[in-house]
Amino acid sequence: MLKKASFLIIFAAIWLTSCTKDPINDLTDPDSQVFITNHDKSIDFKQFKTFSIADSVVVVEDDRSGTALTDMDKQILSTVITKMQSLGYTYVAASKKPDVGLTVARITNNYLNVVSTPYSSYYGGYYGGYGYGYPSYYSYYQTSESYWSVSMLDLKNANTATKTLNVIWDAQIRGDGLGNTDYFSEMIDSIFGQSTYLKIN
């Protein structure tokens, strides 16, 4: 009797652990999006008047990078320009010594994940009570995440000694539906909207 009871408990345990959940599978694409912004608190953005933007999008995938200018890229660049203008900045060509420079990047990271699947001893029993002499198996799966990154560089106060441009503001747009141009305006509004210190007018 006791044996039967302990079987029940084991069975219940297996049944209980088998229901894994995905609590966010009901999120729509815009709802899944996360807007992360960082800025240099020592900077007073009121000192800047003009801006320029890199004329193509930086594409970074793992260790490789390049540039691209697809229709999608053009649209996100023009959305950023419009938004910067509405905040009071004047758009000038890169050759006109802009105060700040903006870059937009598409970043893709691929991760290789490993899971080990040890064979349970509960598989044993059928062939005369012997356990199975399996080693632990490893299976690999790859996940990849792409996101948009928008950075603002301080061109006005460039460090001439070390030849570095400080990133004074940067934003990441992560989540689902990031390639859908319908969401671009809302996405760009969000990253600038939550950075109220950028407004100079």
């Binding site: 009871a5 219940a12 345990a13 609590p23 966010i24 899944s32 996360v34 992360i36 800025h39 939550q194």
Partner: protein
Amino acid sequence: MKKLIIAAFLLAGFAPAFAQEQTPKLYTLPSPYDRYTTYLVTARLTSAIPIGSFKNDYIDKASFENYSISLEWVLQNSFSVGGEIGYSYFKQRLPRALYTSGDQTISAIQTRTVSQYPIQAFVNYHFLPKSSAIQPYVQISAGGSILDYTVYYGSLADQKQKIRPTYGVGVGSKFLFKKDGSFGADVRVKYAGTSFKYDYLTSGISSLNTSIGLFYRWW
């Protein structure tokens, strides 16, 4: 038709004999549930209401996704001891909001979750004898909880998995469907606490759990 009548007669003869076997009238022995240490298995469905700092700082939404199964040994005195394994799941979605930490601002829809697989040993003290149709009891329990704390910012997750001590105090009652029968219902109200500190959770996870269950007992 004739065959049917014969069958009916046979059955009529057999049925009382069978019934007699079930309830021997020769001796008035106490029920086996009084005479032996017996086994009892209970499956429960639980509603859990968050309380304390768990409610104030993390999730205040009640959860109905809680299940458990317990096995107990009903001793010949007023006590029973046993083990219970369960599953509990809390989830709450918050509207889009800004979260600031240091120089960083995050705008996201937060989905807060906690899932637990508590495995506990318990002791029950029963106030009425086992022959009683209603058997109120008090319970204390302690054990470990396999815990998963995940906060989703949009589709990004901050996850922490741990095995932490868990404990509980409860009152409840068993209701037998039939005198000396094997099946019955179980109602229990229990305070459940798990000590866990991480991120939003500063002093553990506590909830008030009300469960209804079905039990089966045998010897």
